[in-house]
Protein backbone atom coordinates (compact mmCIF):
# COMPACT_ATOMS: atom_id res chain seq x y z
CA UNK A 1 0.00 0.00 0.00
CA UNK A 2 1.22 3.50 -0.85
CA UNK A 3 0.08 6.50 1.20
CA UNK A 4 0.85 10.20 1.38
CA UNK A 5 0.48 11.34 4.99
CA UNK A 6 0.66 14.64 6.85
CA UNK A 7 1.17 12.75 10.14
CA UNK A 8 4.61 11.86 11.55
CA UNK A 9 5.72 8.52 10.09
CA UNK A 10 7.57 7.78 13.36
CA UNK A 11 4.24 7.48 15.19
CA UNK A 12 2.48 5.28 12.64
CA UNK A 13 1.90 1.61 13.23
CA UNK A 14 3.85 0.27 10.30
CA UNK A 15 3.59 -3.41 11.05
CA UNK A 16 1.93 -4.64 7.91
CA UNK A 17 0.40 -8.04 7.30
CA UNK A 18 3.41 -10.28 7.84
CA UNK A 19 1.74 -13.54 8.59
CA UNK A 20 2.97 -15.05 5.34
CA UNK A 21 5.31 -17.84 6.46
CA UNK A 22 6.94 -17.82 3.02
CA UNK A 23 8.54 -14.43 3.82
CA UNK A 24 12.18 -15.04 4.76
CA UNK A 25 13.55 -11.51 4.31
CA UNK A 26 12.29 -8.04 5.18
CA UNK A 27 13.97 -4.75 4.46
CA UNK A 28 12.85 -1.39 5.76
CA UNK A 29 14.21 1.92 4.50
CA UNK A 30 13.68 5.28 6.18
CA UNK A 31 14.84 8.54 4.64
CA UNK A 32 15.12 11.49 7.02
CA UNK A 33 15.42 15.22 6.48
CA UNK A 34 19.08 16.21 6.89
CA UNK A 35 20.27 19.34 8.65
CA UNK A 36 22.58 20.50 5.89
CA UNK A 37 22.34 20.80 2.11
CA UNK A 38 25.16 21.90 -0.16
CA UNK A 39 26.99 23.23 2.88
CA UNK A 40 24.02 25.35 4.08
CA UNK A 41 22.22 24.78 7.36
CA UNK A 42 18.63 23.59 6.79
CA UNK A 43 16.02 24.52 9.40
CA UNK A 44 13.03 22.85 7.72
CA UNK A 45 11.82 21.14 4.57
CA UNK A 46 8.37 21.66 3.02
CA UNK A 47 6.94 18.70 1.07
CA UNK A 48 4.27 19.79 -1.39
CA UNK A 49 2.33 16.90 -2.93
CA UNK A 50 -0.26 16.37 -5.65
CA UNK A 51 -1.59 13.64 -3.40
CA UNK A 52 -4.22 11.94 -5.58
CA UNK A 53 -1.84 11.43 -8.46
CA UNK A 54 1.12 10.65 -6.17
CA UNK A 55 -0.82 7.82 -4.51
CA UNK A 56 -1.99 6.47 -7.87
CA UNK A 57 1.54 6.54 -9.31
CA UNK A 58 2.97 5.20 -6.04
CA UNK A 59 0.65 2.17 -6.21
CA UNK A 60 1.77 1.63 -9.81
CA UNK A 61 5.43 1.63 -8.72
CA UNK A 62 4.71 -0.92 -5.97
CA UNK A 63 2.73 -3.14 -8.36
CA UNK A 64 5.54 -3.00 -10.94
CA UNK A 65 8.07 -3.87 -8.23
CA UNK A 66 6.02 -6.86 -7.06
CA UNK A 67 5.79 -8.17 -10.61
CA UNK A 68 9.36 -7.37 -11.69
CA UNK A 69 11.08 -8.91 -8.65
CA UNK A 70 8.53 -11.52 -7.59
CA UNK A 71 8.42 -10.26 -4.02
CA UNK A 72 5.56 -10.87 -1.58
CA UNK A 73 4.80 -7.39 -0.25
CA UNK A 74 5.84 -3.78 -0.76
CA UNK A 75 4.58 -0.77 1.17
CA UNK A 76 5.43 2.91 1.23
CA UNK A 77 4.56 6.06 3.17
CA UNK A 78 5.60 9.55 2.06
CA UNK A 79 5.19 12.70 4.13
CA UNK A 80 3.58 15.96 3.09
CA UNK A 81 3.89 19.27 4.92
CA UNK A 82 6.67 21.01 6.83
CA UNK A 83 9.31 18.73 8.39
CA UNK A 84 12.23 19.42 10.72
CA UNK A 85 15.68 17.85 10.31
CA UNK A 86 15.63 14.32 11.73
CA UNK A 87 12.00 13.67 10.78
CA UNK A 88 11.26 10.72 8.50
CA UNK A 89 10.17 11.83 5.02
CA UNK A 90 9.80 8.45 3.35
CA UNK A 91 9.42 4.87 4.53
CA UNK A 92 9.56 1.74 2.35
CA UNK A 93 9.18 -1.89 3.40
CA UNK A 94 9.59 -5.00 1.26
CA UNK A 95 9.06 -8.67 2.15
CA UNK A 96 10.19 -11.57 -0.02
CA UNK A 97 10.85 -15.28 0.23
CA UNK A 98 14.59 -14.72 -0.12
CA UNK A 99 17.00 -11.99 0.86
CA UNK A 100 18.52 -10.85 -2.39
CA UNK A 101 15.25 -9.58 -3.86
CA UNK A 102 14.33 -7.39 -0.89
CA UNK A 103 17.33 -5.11 -1.37
CA UNK A 104 16.98 -4.87 -5.14
CA UNK A 105 13.27 -4.16 -4.85
CA UNK A 106 13.59 -1.54 -2.14
CA UNK A 107 16.26 0.33 -4.11
CA UNK A 108 14.14 0.13 -7.26
CA UNK A 109 11.13 1.62 -5.45
CA UNK A 110 13.18 4.50 -4.00
CA UNK A 111 14.77 5.29 -7.37
CA UNK A 112 11.38 5.30 -9.13
CA UNK A 113 9.52 7.38 -6.58
CA UNK A 114 12.21 10.08 -6.66
CA UNK A 115 11.48 11.01 -10.25
CA UNK A 116 7.94 9.73 -10.85
CA UNK A 117 5.88 11.00 -7.93
CA UNK A 118 4.42 14.51 -8.17
CA UNK A 119 6.13 15.67 -4.99
CA UNK A 120 8.22 18.80 -4.55
CA UNK A 121 10.39 19.90 -1.67
CA UNK A 122 11.57 23.31 -0.62
CA UNK A 123 14.47 23.79 1.75
CA UNK A 124 14.40 26.62 4.28
CA UNK A 125 17.85 27.77 5.37
CA UNK A 126 19.10 29.33 8.60
CA UNK A 127 19.67 32.70 6.90
CA UNK A 128 15.97 32.99 5.93
CA UNK A 129 16.53 32.02 2.31
CA UNK A 130 14.74 29.06 0.70
CA UNK A 131 14.85 27.05 -2.50
CA UNK A 132 13.15 24.25 -4.40
CA UNK A 133 15.20 21.07 -4.48
CA UNK A 134 16.12 19.90 -7.95
CA UNK A 135 16.16 16.12 -8.19
CA UNK A 136 19.37 14.76 -9.74
CA UNK A 137 17.25 12.93 -12.31
CA UNK A 138 14.79 15.82 -12.74
CA UNK A 139 15.99 16.89 -16.16
CA UNK A 140 16.24 13.35 -17.48
CA UNK A 141 12.73 12.48 -16.31
CA UNK A 142 11.02 15.50 -17.85
CA UNK A 143 9.51 14.94 -21.23
Amino acid sequence: MFKITSQPIEEMDLKGPRADPKAGGFVTFRGRVRDTSGGRRVVSMEYETYSDLAEKEGERILAEAREKFGILEAHCRHRSGRLSPGETAVWVEVAAAHRKEVFETCQYIIAELKYRLPIWKKEYYEDGDSGWVQSESGAASAQ
Binding site: H78, K114, Y115, K122, S135, G138, A139, Q143
Partner: protein, 83 residues
Protein backbone atom coordinates in the same frame (compact mmCIF):
# COMPACT_ATOMS: atom_id res chain seq x y z
CA UNK B 1 -6.62 26.81 -31.93
CA UNK B 2 -10.01 25.27 -31.36
CA UNK B 3 -13.33 26.30 -29.83
CA UNK B 4 -13.23 28.11 -26.49
CA UNK B 5 -13.61 25.83 -23.45
CA UNK B 6 -13.50 26.28 -19.72
CA UNK B 7 -10.82 24.27 -17.95
CA UNK B 8 -9.66 24.06 -14.35
CA UNK B 9 -6.00 24.55 -13.54
CA UNK B 10 -4.09 23.45 -10.43
CA UNK B 11 -0.59 24.71 -9.68
CA UNK B 12 2.13 23.24 -7.50
CA UNK B 13 5.54 24.33 -6.23
CA UNK B 14 7.40 26.81 -8.48
CA UNK B 15 4.48 27.22 -10.88
CA UNK B 16 2.11 27.92 -7.96
CA UNK B 17 4.50 30.59 -6.71
CA UNK B 18 4.94 32.17 -10.15
CA UNK B 19 1.18 32.12 -10.85
CA UNK B 20 0.32 33.28 -7.31
CA UNK B 21 -2.68 30.93 -6.95
CA UNK B 22 -3.20 27.18 -6.43
CA UNK B 23 -6.36 26.86 -8.53
CA UNK B 24 -8.12 28.80 -11.22
CA UNK B 25 -10.75 28.40 -13.90
CA UNK B 26 -9.78 29.65 -17.32
CA UNK B 27 -11.48 30.00 -20.66
CA UNK B 28 -9.11 29.07 -23.43
CA UNK B 29 -9.03 28.20 -27.10
CA UNK B 30 -5.90 26.01 -26.63
CA UNK B 31 -6.37 22.63 -28.33
CA UNK B 32 -3.90 20.75 -26.11
CA UNK B 33 -1.58 21.15 -23.10
CA UNK B 34 1.27 22.35 -25.33
CA UNK B 35 -0.71 25.35 -26.55
CA UNK B 36 -2.15 25.96 -23.10
CA UNK B 37 1.27 26.00 -21.43
CA UNK B 38 2.60 28.42 -24.07
CA UNK B 39 -0.37 30.68 -23.43
CA UNK B 40 0.08 30.62 -19.62
CA UNK B 41 3.85 30.90 -19.81
CA UNK B 42 3.75 34.08 -21.88
CA UNK B 43 0.97 35.61 -19.77
CA UNK B 44 2.48 34.78 -16.33
CA UNK B 45 6.21 34.71 -17.20
CA UNK B 46 6.74 31.11 -16.07
CA UNK B 47 10.48 30.48 -15.98
CA UNK B 48 10.33 26.77 -16.85
CA UNK B 49 10.46 25.77 -20.52
CA UNK B 50 7.90 23.14 -21.57
CA UNK B 51 10.61 20.47 -21.93
CA UNK B 52 11.05 20.59 -18.13
CA UNK B 53 7.33 20.18 -17.47
CA UNK B 54 5.05 17.13 -17.34
CA UNK B 55 1.28 17.36 -17.61
CA UNK B 56 -1.64 15.57 -15.95
CA UNK B 57 -5.23 15.81 -17.16
CA UNK B 58 -8.11 14.65 -14.97
CA UNK B 59 -5.81 13.07 -12.43
CA UNK B 60 -3.43 11.10 -14.63
CA UNK B 61 -0.29 11.73 -16.60
CA UNK B 62 -0.74 12.39 -20.28
CA UNK B 63 1.20 13.98 -23.13
CA UNK B 64 1.30 17.51 -24.47
CA UNK B 65 -0.71 16.57 -27.58
CA UNK B 66 -3.70 15.28 -25.61
CA UNK B 67 -6.93 16.98 -26.85
CA UNK B 68 -8.43 19.23 -24.22
CA UNK B 69 -12.17 19.40 -23.71
CA UNK B 70 -14.53 21.52 -21.70
CA UNK B 71 -14.33 20.79 -17.96
CA UNK B 72 -10.87 19.15 -17.99
CA UNK B 73 -8.68 19.55 -14.91
CA UNK B 74 -5.15 20.32 -16.08
CA UNK B 75 -2.00 20.28 -13.94
CA UNK B 76 1.44 21.26 -15.21
CA UNK B 77 4.10 19.58 -13.08
CA UNK B 78 7.48 21.22 -12.48
CA UNK B 79 10.47 18.86 -12.04
CA UNK B 80 9.75 16.62 -9.06
CA UNK B 81 11.96 15.58 -6.14
CA UNK B 82 10.26 12.96 -3.99
CA UNK B 83 11.92 10.97 -1.24
Amino acid sequence: MSAAKEIELQYFALLREQRGVSHERRTTAAANPRDLYDELRSEFKFSLPPENIRVAVNGDFTDFDHSLKDGDVVVFLPPVAGG
